[in-house]
């Protein structure tokens, strides 16, 4: 079986910006406007979804931030599927990746709340909960992106075979 996604050391690691696409080359400011608008629109939608989740499942003061953990893990699973689909399967419109990958998923997930939640737990003398939250989020988020990308590639290979 040939690898669906061969190692690519020379490729840009960063999924947000691809300098090989002329529109993403800095300097072409006029061409950047639709990209920035797509990122802003997607980011707002993602952040609104995260805010909605925090209203639906509020975390008590000093409580374990399960909602943020689940939001971040879900966002990581979805980006694992999305990046495989958009790289290997779907020749999408050039604004789809900025809108959904950079915007929606970037706005939905958050690193700042993760860090400050840990600080707040430490401040409330809940160092063990802080450490558990730190490690559990990392573990679940990385496992989510790895397994989602792996499963999506399996399905893609199976359908193309």
């Amino acid at each position: 079986m040939k690898p669906v996604h061969p190692p690519a050391v020379g490729e840009p690691t960063d999924p947000d910006v691809d300098l090989h696409i002329p529109v993403q080359r800095p300097g072409a400011w006029r061409a950047q406007v639709p990209v920035l608008a797509a990122v802003a629109l997607g980011g707002s939608a993602g952040a609104a979804a995260r805010y909605g989740a925090s209203l639906l499942w509020p975390t008590a003061d000093g409580g374990f931030p399960w909602t943020t953990l689940v939001v971040n893990a879900a966002g990581c699973a979805v980006i694992g599927v999305f990046m495989v689909v958009i790289s290997d399967v779907w020749a999408a419109h050039r604004l789809v990746r900025p809108f959904f990958g950079t915007g929606v998923l970037g706005g939905f997930t958050t690193f700042s709340t993760y860090a400050v939640d840990i600080q707040q737990l430490v401040d409330a003398d809940r160092a063990r909960a802080a450490l558990a939250y730190l490690g559990l989020t990392l573990l679940v988020a990385l496992a989510a992106v790895v397994s989602a990308a792996w499963a999506t590639r399996r399905i893609v290979t199976w359908r193309q075979a």
Partner: protein, 124 residues
């Protein structure tokens, strides 16, 4: 109104992350995802500062929604952070993958703590 504040903050935060990424990639030709790293650490610092300000009564709830939930939430990202880590690991740059995780967590947490301490010094 609360929703509008979150939407407005995120409409600034997400493009700011994208522009940071473009600016950083233009200057550094490395496999390490400095763009996302920079945006994440900056967002942690600002949210730490803001959380401290709210605690000591120097910032009200609308500011928290606009700058915290909206701007900092959208400026920072866990999905791109984890995907970039996966890409580094898959491309054989295992050391950089581990370094990205360690550096992001240490610097992000450090920035959050510094933000809260500065807020305490200013407004407590």
């Amino acid at each position: 109104m609360n929703w509008l504040l979150v939407l407005a903050g995120a409409a600034v935060g997400a493009p700011l992350r994208y522009l940071t990424d473009v600016a950083v990639q233009k200057r550094h030709d490395t496999v390490f995802p400095w763009g996302t790293f920079t945006a994440n650490v900056a967002g942690c610092l600002v949210l730490g500062l803001l959380t401290g300000a709210v605690t000591y009564g120097a910032a009200a709830d609308p500011v928290r929604l606009l700058v915290g939930t909206g701007l900092c939430g959208a400026l920072t990202t866990y999905s791109t952070f984890s995907y970039e880590t996966l890409r580094l690991a898959e491309s054989g740059a295992g050391f950089f993958a581990a370094a990205n995780v360690a550096a992001s967590v240490v610097a992000g947490l450090g920035a959050a703590f510094v933000g809260v301490v500065v807020a305490e010094a200013l407004w407590a």
